[in-house]
Symmetry: C2
Subunit: 290 residues, 2 copies
């Protein structure tokens, strides 16, 4: 089998209050990664703003913008300049009073390839996302970029094997997760470690189940009572962590993946061959016990 190398760029950053500053910060890192050979660069979830979902406040809807729109265009120019594919997570204003948590994908020539809207929306103390984000209605999809066919899911989607499977079945060669997750600063180290491990584990399992690499890019730093835990990582197509970022530092990093590994792993462990699709229809049920 011939190698199919692709260079993945990760930007793990802390966020400023001003959107323009975050865009500049991201741009600086994108140019830096492009000079190091990055071909597909993923930014973390909602990198353009502070994590505003820590409270329910209607004023924060002002942070949203159309996609495509000003920020999309800003990064389209940057994609063209650096010849990189960019995965750009933004707060989408779709219509009056209708908002989504959305990721735009831009091709290496600056073309806007389309968007994915976060399907699974969390809601728990400090993460009041159901207030802000209408559940996505674009389904699971892939984007045929200059360097690979990529699937994009967003944060809470990462806990759902269904979402990863469906994106893989569409032909994704890499699964990207822009995400924003963190610890309560006053929890014990044991609880924190178990939460991080579970978070990394479930995403590595999507790599194993589907035979494709997974790239998770997380926010870092303390914001409004949450210590975003960084720890962005790359899993190969068989669930091995081949790169992991710091829990406390901003990071920009280029990591090579060989997409030919998927054919190799799937040949040895042919899980897709043996799916019992005749037995899966009840997955569309909420619960089967009662």
């Amino acid at each position: 089998m011939k190698n199919r190398p692709v260079q993945i760029g990760i930007v793990q950053m802390s966020c400023e209050a001003e959107k323009s500053l975050n865009l500049e910060k991201a741009a600086l890192q994108i140019r830096h990664l492009a000079r190091q050979g990055a071909q597909i660069i993923c930014l973390q979830e909602l990198f353009a703003t502070p994590y505003f979902c820590f409270e329910e406040n209607p004023a924060y809807f002002d942070l949203a913008e159309p996609i495509p729109g000003p920020s999309t265009e800003y990064f389209q120019a940057l994609a063209r300049e650096t010849q990189t594919v960019l995965i750009v997570s933004l707060f989408e204003h779709r219509a009056p009073g209708l908002y989504h948590n959305t990721t735009a994908v831009l091709n290496a020539d600056g073309q806007y390839l389309g968007k994915y809207r976060k399907t699974h929306i969390p809601d728990d103390p400090g993460f009041y996302e159901k207030y802000y984000f209408t559940p996505g209605d674009l389904g699971y999809r892939i984007f045929e970029t200059a360097y690979a066919k990529i699937g994009v899911l967003i944060c809470w989607d990462q806990w759902y094997p269904e979402a990863a499977r469906l994106t893989a079945l569409h032909g994704a060669e890499i699964l990207f997760y822009p995400t924003a997750i963190g610890w309560e600063p006053d929890e014990t180290e044991a609880v924190n470690q178990e939460q991080y491990q579970a978070w990394q584990l479930i995403q590595r399992s999507h790599a194993v189940a589907n035979g494709i690499p997974v790239v998770a890019v997380n926010r870092v730093g303390l914001e409004a009572g949450t210590l975003f835990w960084g720890g962005s990582f790359v899993s190969n197509a068989f669930g091995s962590v081949v790169y992991q970022a710091s829990h406390t530092q901003e990071v920009s990093y280029v990591f090579p993946l060989d997409l030919a590994q998927s054919e190799q792993y799937r040949r040895i462990w042919p899980f897709l061959r043996d799916r019992r699709i005749d037995t899966y229809a009840p997955l569309t049920q909420r619960y089967l016990g009662d």
Copy 2:
């Protein structure tokens, strides 16, 4: 929340050529574990015979028996004697020329509660299971035992998040995987470790995704060119390995689980609440890319 302790017994063994010897060996360990307080005891996949699927040989169909049948009755008596729930993996002769890889579940009073037939059937060099085992047609199910509502899946099923999810949605409080998996003896240590890690990882991920503990019981020892890797383990409801057995030794072990943890984990991480069941219908498709 009140604790709901249950004592899990694991029997990880190597197998003799004679079925009667393997039954006696299992019975010895079951009595031993019962004296230590075990309440639900899981035996590994096809523990009653050598792993005959290393080649395609019609003579091996003679190893199959009806379920219920002689071996089921043998363990029913033992369940009654020891007041333990027994999870008993056997080669099932269902009708002339029709065979399954099946697990019987016996209640602590000796009652036969029913059986589960392996749904996902592997086939690769040294594991020619498609020759022997007709794919299961009983669907995913749970068994209401004296100590817990348990779900049972078998070996290759473990790679499929769909199977774990459906069993959990039926109300399983613990997921058991009798299994038989091993290494090629001449592979590198790096490959072996990656394979074991992926195997453990995917099963731990079912615990995370569904908020229930997972118990995997694997065969150990060298048989016909495969080094069965033991390494039976228990994962708590959030994917942490709380017990792991040796890769080379026979093991019988009692491990306590607190089933109240599931309510606790699912309350903190309410994945079941947010499943987007309106988007999962395409999971019944083989592939969506072409």
